[in-house]
Structure formats: C-alpha cells, structure tokens
C-alpha cells in the first residue's frame, strides 16, 4: 500500500509540474470548454423565464448553480480517452508502461488526478466570474459538501473505468472512434450533461439509473445543487461504489484477455 501511495504522489507531482509548464494553454483549453455549459445555461434560463420563472422546479438561479457546478464536475471526470489508448499503442507507450511493475491503469489514474489539481486551481477564478455574471442559487450544507467531495472523485474513477473498457477495444480493432462517438451520445442524454435529468422524460430518468453516466456526472451536481434527502445522498454514493467495484472487476478480467492479444506494435 505504501508503495502505491508513494507512486501516486510521485506521479501526481510529475503531472502537476508538466501542467504548470503550459498554464496559458490550459486556461484557453478550459475557457473553450465553458462554451457548452454557458449555452445550456442561457437556453434553459430563457425557457424558465418563459414558463413563468421556473422549469421542472429549476429557476434561472438554480440552473446557473447547476451549470457552474457542471464545469467543475466536467473537469473532474476528464480521464484517459479511447483515442489515447490508440495513440499510446501506436507510439509504443503502452510497451513502456507494461515493462513496469505496476498496472498501466494506475499511471492513468495518478496522472489525471495530478492534472485535476492544476485544473481546479485554474477553475476557481472562472467559477467566481461565472457566479458574478449568472448569480447562482447555491446553498449546500456541510453534509452535501462532504458527499460532493467524495462523489466527484468517485465520478472520476467511474469514467476512468468506462473509458478504459472502451479503450481496451483497441486490442481487437483500431477503429475505436466510432464506438466512442456512440458512448458520447449516450452519455450526453443519460448523464445530466445536456440537461438536468429531472427535466428529461420519465423513461430516460429510469434508464439513467442503470447506466454509469449519471453516477459519473449528474449525481455529483445534484448532490450540491438539489435538495436530496440523506438516504438519497447515501444511495447515490452506494451506486458509485458499486460501479467502481464491479467496473474494476470487469476491467481486470477484460485486461487479462486483451493483453494476450497485444502485438506491441510501434515499439
């Protein structure tokens, strides 16, 4: 355990140092990512105003809160993508990772965890700016804050697991891009990314329970923005832990089969 702790700290440190090499580029990247939630926020606020001040229980203030928290959750659940799997196999980077006495997924998790430390620091001024412009209605309790802190890291792990599963398809076919587009479309609808899930039809809300997307995106936002009961908060955390646990088991089993097919192309 001490060994893994030392590794995670060292890898996160390397990642933080790498990201600080390009702070301006990272800022532009983050500002570019703001376009999506700001558009959603403006559109839904207009709808709420037209509907007499709220839509599905969301006022312009609570929608602003939803989409500002959205920007943090989005940063938190950025993980190594299937495109990255293709790239690292072609470049021979996976071979380098496989030669180390450490599962390559630890490298992914630790690297992006360090990356997030930088991104959260960069995010704070942007969140303040968005709050000044859109005036969010956000009053979390201490318990909600604590659950949110755990939930965003669990969301990160869930998305890492699901994207790794997609990435491992690269061991069978190099055309992962099409599959990733399909995943992205499902995520957009079933996660709460496009719109809060409570504004979606009942069938979509029910379906969202059985997929990982909501637990990697919408749930952490709802924890902070909504008014969930303690039992709902804990149920959500339970679902996240279940996805992390079963997802890890599936990743580990598929990895064993996939690695036998590895042909170490590109080095």
């Amino acid at each position: 355990m001490k060994r893994y702790f030392d590794y995670y700290i060292s890898m996160m440190r390397v990642s933080v140092m790498e990201q600080w090499q390009y702070p301006v580029a990272n800022y532009f990247y983050m500002i570019g990512m703001l376009a999506e939630p700001v558009i959603y926020m403006v559109v839904w606020s207009a709808v709420a105003n037209q509907e007499g001040g709220s839509v599905g229980g969301y006022t312009p203030g609570s929608l602003a809160a939803y989409y500002i928290v959205w920007t943090l959750v989005r940063q938190m659940n950025i993980a190594f993508t299937p495109y990255g799997w293709e790239w690292r196999i072609r470049q021979g980077r996976l071979s380098t990772s496989l030669l180390r006495p450490m599962h390559p997924l630890h490298e992914d998790v630790a690297f992006f965890a360090g990356w997030k430390v930088v991104m959260i620091i960069l995010w704070i001024p942007l969140a303040i700016l968005l709050s000044l412009i859109f005036k969010p209605d956000l009053h979390p309790t201490l318990l909600e804050g604590a659950v949110f802190f755990i939930a965003i890291w669990m969301a990160y792990l869930i998305r890492t697991i699901t994207l790794s599963l997609l990435g491992m398809v690269t061991f069978w076919t190099t055309r992962v891009s099409a599959l990733f587009e399909l995943y992205f479309a499902a995520e957009l609808i079933l996660s709460g990314r496009l719109v809060p899930l409570s504004l979606m039809p009942e069938a979509v809300q029910t379906a969202a329970w059985f997929f990982p997307f909501r637990w990697a995106f919408g749930y952490p936002i709802e924890v902070l923005v909504g008014s969930m009961s303690v039992s709902d908060l804990l149920l959500g955390l339970g679902m996240q832990f279940a996805w992390v646990f079963f997802g890890s088991v599936i990743v580990s089993q598929i990895w064993k089969i996939a690695i036998g097919r590895f042909s170490a192309v590109g080095g």
């Binding site: 700290i9 140092m17 590895f262």
Partner: protein, 328 residues
C-alpha cells in the same frame, strides 16, 4: 552454472489479413477475409549464462525485436518454452519486471517537458528503490555518462544522444540483472555510441548483469560481445563466439602491402580494393592467403605487408546471404 535465459523452440506467429489491390477485392474482403501466417520467430533455441554479453544479430525483420519483446514479457509466444531468471516472462510477474529492463532506440519513458531528474524520481517510486540507494545509483550513472550539466534541463531541450543517455540511466536505476538492449545506439554519432558502449560494459562489470544486445552497428558488437547469436527469417543461423563466426563465414582476407616499385598487373594476386600511391589493399580468398602472400614477397619489392580478417560487416552480410539449408 545454470542459465539465466533459457529458450527452447520459441515461436511467434501472426495472422495477417491480405488481399489483392482494387475495389472488387476490397468488396470481396467484406464477406471473406484471407489471412497469411507470418512466422516472426520460428522455433529458436539458446541459453545464456549469468553475466554474459551476447550480440543478437539479424537483418531487419529477422525476428530480433519480437524475441526481445517475448523475453521481456510484452508478447505472448505462440509456442515453445521460455524462462528468464526462472520466471515465465508472459506472466509479467512484478518481481520479474523489477529485475529486467528493455531499452529500445525509440523508447520514451522520460517526461518531455521536465528535467530528467524528475523522471528519475518517478522511476524510484515505480521500482520502490530505497531513497539512499536511489541517490547513490543515480549520481553514479550521471557521473559515468557525464550528464551532470544536463539533468536539470527539460528533456525536450536535449539532443538525441543526450536523451538516449538519459533514457539509459532511467532504465537502469533499479539495477536490473538482465538488460535487453534493442539498438541502443541507433542514430547516434560515433562519440556518443562509444560512450554508451563503455557505459554498458562498465555496468556489466560492476553488477554482473547479463546483456542481450541487438545492433546494426558492428562496432557495438565487437566492443561488447564475445558471443553472438544470428537469426534470419525467425530461425537461428549461428550461435557461438564472434571469432568463430568470422572464421566460419569469412571467405576472404584483406591483404595490405606497400611496394617501392610499381607493379604492372596486381590482379593476378587477388581483387584489388584500392591503390593509394605505393599502398595496395586487396581481397584474397581465405584458403589462398598463404600462397598469395608468399608470391607477393617473392615477386615484388614489398616494404611491409599486413593480413587482416574481413570487416565484421562483410562477414555478417555473407551470413545473411547464405541460405539456411546450407548451414545445417
């Protein structure tokens, strides 16, 4: 002494899809694909003793890198037996991975944007190297490769040779018992090649490590390896001393001599390679060397004369040109 590397009838075959060129063939391929079996490694066997430095030679596509990848656990063999330090590499046991390293000419384990010192520290964490031991080894390697002024520069600002030296330090910080070196001097200038060669020799001497080296630079092989293993088309062509390889496959000797009076027809003695003033270099069939040198000394006014084996590059070239059937 028991072998640290033991390979028996090792094979790696790939199924590669193939089809004719053109639209019709592409359409047919949607319904019925045909595959060809490529035998990258085809039943090779050898053993390597602890502390040996062995040259692993072959032309491009001979199966050298595939073999190294199987030895380091990156690839699963199709058939055959393979044991390194008593481990089955394909299982990629962490205790096994801590005792080996694979250095490839194109390998990139250092962070591009950071000084190499930061990547070295990451290697410490990956291999759980005690801090004192890590610092001692790191400083020792930095001194040996004369990297003191470079380790604080971002890797992206280093030259290819400097980067390669850093890669080698990073790959050896955990002091592996087995080194698989795949073209470690690829693309480097002569001085840098020499530096890396002497570092590998020093590492082998200090730590008793076993080294399996592939290189297209015969200077690497001559400087480091007493024994060579030659493969071609995935099959073993030769396994033995480098000197025995030269003896077996060198059909010619190089005879150089200086004459004080010009001779009219030198071709009667052998193939004239060059004439530089009074200095002549010629190639003579190995079995005729004694007779030819005797004639040269008797018939011409020779001031000095040398007889040398053919350059190793020529010998290797002749090995590759010989069909396998003729070697058995």
């Amino acid at each position: 002494m028991s072998s640290v590397i033991s390979i028996s009838k090792l094979a790696k075959h790939y199924q590669v899809p193939e089809r004719e060129a053109g639209l019709i063939a592409a359409a047919k391929g949607l319904f019925k694909r045909t595959y060809k079996t490529v035998k990258a490694v085809d039943g090779i066997s050898f053993n390597i003793q602890p502390g040996e430095v062995v040259g692993f030679l072959g032309p491009n596509g001979a199966g050298k890198t595939t073999t190294l990848k199987m030895l380091s656990g990156l690839l699963h063999p199709t058939s055959g037996e393979l044991s390194v330090l008593g481990y089955e590499p394909a299982k990629r046991d962490h205790d096994y991975l801590r005792q080996i390293t694979l250095v490839m000419g194109n390998r990139n384990q250092l962070s591009w944007d950071l000084p190499a010192l930061d990547s070295f520290d990451l290697q410490r964490a990956i291999y759980s190297i005690p801090l004192d031991e890590f610092k001692h080894t790191r400083d020792e390697f930095i001194a040996l490769l004369d990297l003191k002024d470079l380790v604080q520069k971002p890797v992206r600002n280093l030259s290819l040779g400097e980067r390669m030296k850093m890669e080698i330090v990073g790959a050896l910080l955990h002091k592996p018992k087995i080194l698989f070196l795949d073209e470690p001097t690829l693309g480097l200038d002569v001085t840098m090649q020499k530096r890396i060669r002497s570092f590998v020799a020093e590492y082998n001497k200090r730590y008793g490590a076993t080294v399996l080296l592939t290189s297209h630079y015969m200077a690497d092989v001559e400087a480091l390896c007493k024994r060579v293993i030659v493969i071609h088309h995935g099959r073993l062509l030769f396994d033995g001393d480098l000197s025995a390889l030269v003896e077996k496959f060198s059909a010619f000797k190089t005879v150089g001599f200086t004459i004080d009076t010009p001779a009219s027809d030198l071709s009667q003695y052998g193939d004239v390679v060059s004439v530089d003033g009074s200095r002549v270099t010629m190639r003579v069939p190995k079995e005729k060397t004694s007779a030819v040198t005797s004639r040269l000394l008797n018939e011409l006014s020779v001031v000095d004369l040398t007889v040398e084996s053919a350059p190793i590059e020529e010998v290797i070239e002749s090995v590759f040109s010989v069909k396998r059937e003729t070697l058995e």
